[in-house]
């Protein structure tokens, strides 16, 4: 079956999924439907496409229910915990009740506490609505300045293009060079990141880390690790970014420890919760 046919079939499938039932079909749709009923191969492909959509929907529903299950389990666990605390804090029957003034003070304190709680909840909801992986990426992304003191003179054309911030040129020169090392991979990854080619950037940063892992070196390891987390945020994969950032935060010797320590992990977790929903 040709690619053109498959694409036409997919377009037809998308159309049938979005059309309201009972709506008259266009001539094109009717022709496609005839083709499906007359050609065995096309009918088979059509069924597989339906099954693929079924798989997507199964996965989507599974994730949605799993997220609610997690919330519900957390809630029941905290309720059980709360009940435990309440049991231990129960006033003994023979204890004298507190006086009126004390009760008023208690009430006022509670009112203030409720106000603070409501304000905090409002702020959290506002932050929650506003937050996304992309917003965190925008907040935390900063360009990488190549430290030229690492090497006395710049002879490498890729480095030269990088220093000139000519990102497309970095990629062009990389495609024509046979040389490959961690520094080159990292710079090409950074240039890809600047050009918002996030998947390419991720591939280059992972390459740096893979090379270090097999050769037991750490050349550009910290840089690649940090920017890999940033690239995951750019692609809305906060689940991938989080373990890396947590690892950096727990390692005071990491080059990016200071930077990551200043990040709001509450925001990151909020985004994680929001995007896993």
């Amino acid at each position: 079956m040709s690619l053109q046919h498959t694409h036409a079939l997919i377009d037809h499938l998308d159309k049938t999924l979005t059309d309201t039932p009972g709506q008259p079909s266009s001539e094109e749709s009717a022709a496609m439907q005839r083709l499906i009923s007359e050609d065995e191969d096309i009918a088979k492909e059509w069924n597989y496409l339906h099954l693929a959509v079924e798989a997507v929907r199964e996965k989507g529903l599974f994730e949605q229910v799993a997220a609610i299950r997690t919330q519900w389990e957390a809630r029941t666990a905290s309720q059980e915990e709360g009940e435990g605390i309440a049991m231990t804090q129960e006033t003994p029957a023979d204890e004298k009740p507190a006086g009126g003034a004390l009760r008023n003070l208690y009430r006022n304190t509670m009112r203030v506490a409720v106000c603070i709680l409501l304000f905090a909840a409002g702020a959290t909801i506002f932050r929650y609505v506003r937050l996304s992986s992309s917003s965190l990426y925008n907040a935390y992304y900063s360009s990488y300045e190549l430290n030229t003191s690492r090497d006395a003179s710049i002879t490498d054309p890729i480095e030269q293009a990088y220093i000139e911030k000519n990102w497309p040129e970095v990629l062009t020169r990389f495609s024509t060079t046979k040389e490959r090392n961690n520094k080159i991979d990292f710079l090409v990854g950074m240039a890809s990141l600047e050009l918002k080619k996030f998947d390419d950037a991720i591939a280059h940063f992972e390459q740096v880390m893979a090379t270090n892992s097999t050769s037991h070196t750490d050349y550009f390891e910290d840089e690649a690790e940090y920017y890999l987390a940033i690239a995951w945020l750019a692609t809305s994969k906060v689940n991938e970014a989080m373990p890396i950032l947590e690892r950096i935060k727990s390692n005071k010797d990491h080059l990016y420890y200071q930077k990551v320590s200043k990040m709001s992990f509450t925001d990151l977790r909020l985004v994680q919760y929001k995007e896993n929903k």
Binding site: A43, A52, V56, E58, K59, G60, E63
Partner: protein, 200 residues
């Protein structure tokens, strides 16, 4: 987490069918029915983890049955969920080969209602396999397909969510991803076999 809205059976079915406030409907199902399922599964040899897994599958099967218009409303939601949970746990026990007494007790309690439920909720095994296949798909493809076919976002909206240059790039990527997923399904001997049987 807020307390779920309260639904009558009819309201619940409507909420699920319309796919609006689905989170609220799922939460209601958990708050209302999870405990009874837990007790049931645990009284038949499962632990809490088993019970929660079974209930999760039960909720998925129920929502799927309703959204596909297969829910017949002959029994209450409570009864239907209990039957689905029982059916799932029975299959699970069979799979785990915890044969012997417990299974026989189950066999003897399987009734016509169980058979009806089995027909309504479809092939559990196949659904699990479809999910596993989807899981093997790369992350970018999973996201793009979920946004389009599950979240029902348009190409334009997806372009805002993902780092693709324009709608055409997203469309091409979606073609590739769907074809890749279809290829993986074709390569699964069990599913391919079932489909070929159906087509014959």
């Amino acid at each position: 987490m807020k307390v779920a809205e309260k639904y009558t059976d009819a309201e619940l079915i409507t909420a699920i069918s319309n796919e609006k406030n689905l989170n609220s409907a799922i939460l209601f199902l958990y708050q209302r029915y999870c405990e009874s399922t837990r007790s049931f599964i645990m009284s038949y040899g499962g632990n809490q983890q088993d019970a929660d897994d079974v209930f999760q599958e039960t909720v998925i099967a129920f929502i799927d049955t309703v959204t596909k218009g297969k829910y017949r409303q002959e029994a209450s939601v409570k009864t239907f969920l209990a039957s689905v949970a029982r059916h799932i746990w029975f299959n699970e026990l069979k799979k785990k080969e915890r044969a012997g007494l417990r299974e026989k007790r189950f066999e003897s309690t399987r009734d016509q209602q169980q058979e009806d439920v089995s027909q309504q909720i479809g092939d559990l095994e196949q659904r699990q396999q479809l999910r596993d296949i989807m899981q093997q798909l790369g992350e970018p493809c999973q996201t793009i397909l979920l946004l389009f076919y599950y979240e029902n976002l348009s190409m334009k909206e997806i372009t805002h969510h993902l780092p693709y240059e324009n709608e055409q790039v997203v469309r091409n990527k979606k073609y590739k991803c769907l074809q890749q997923l279809t290829g993986m399904i074709k390569a699964n001997p069990v599913i391919a076999g079932q489909l070929n049987e159906l087509i014959k």
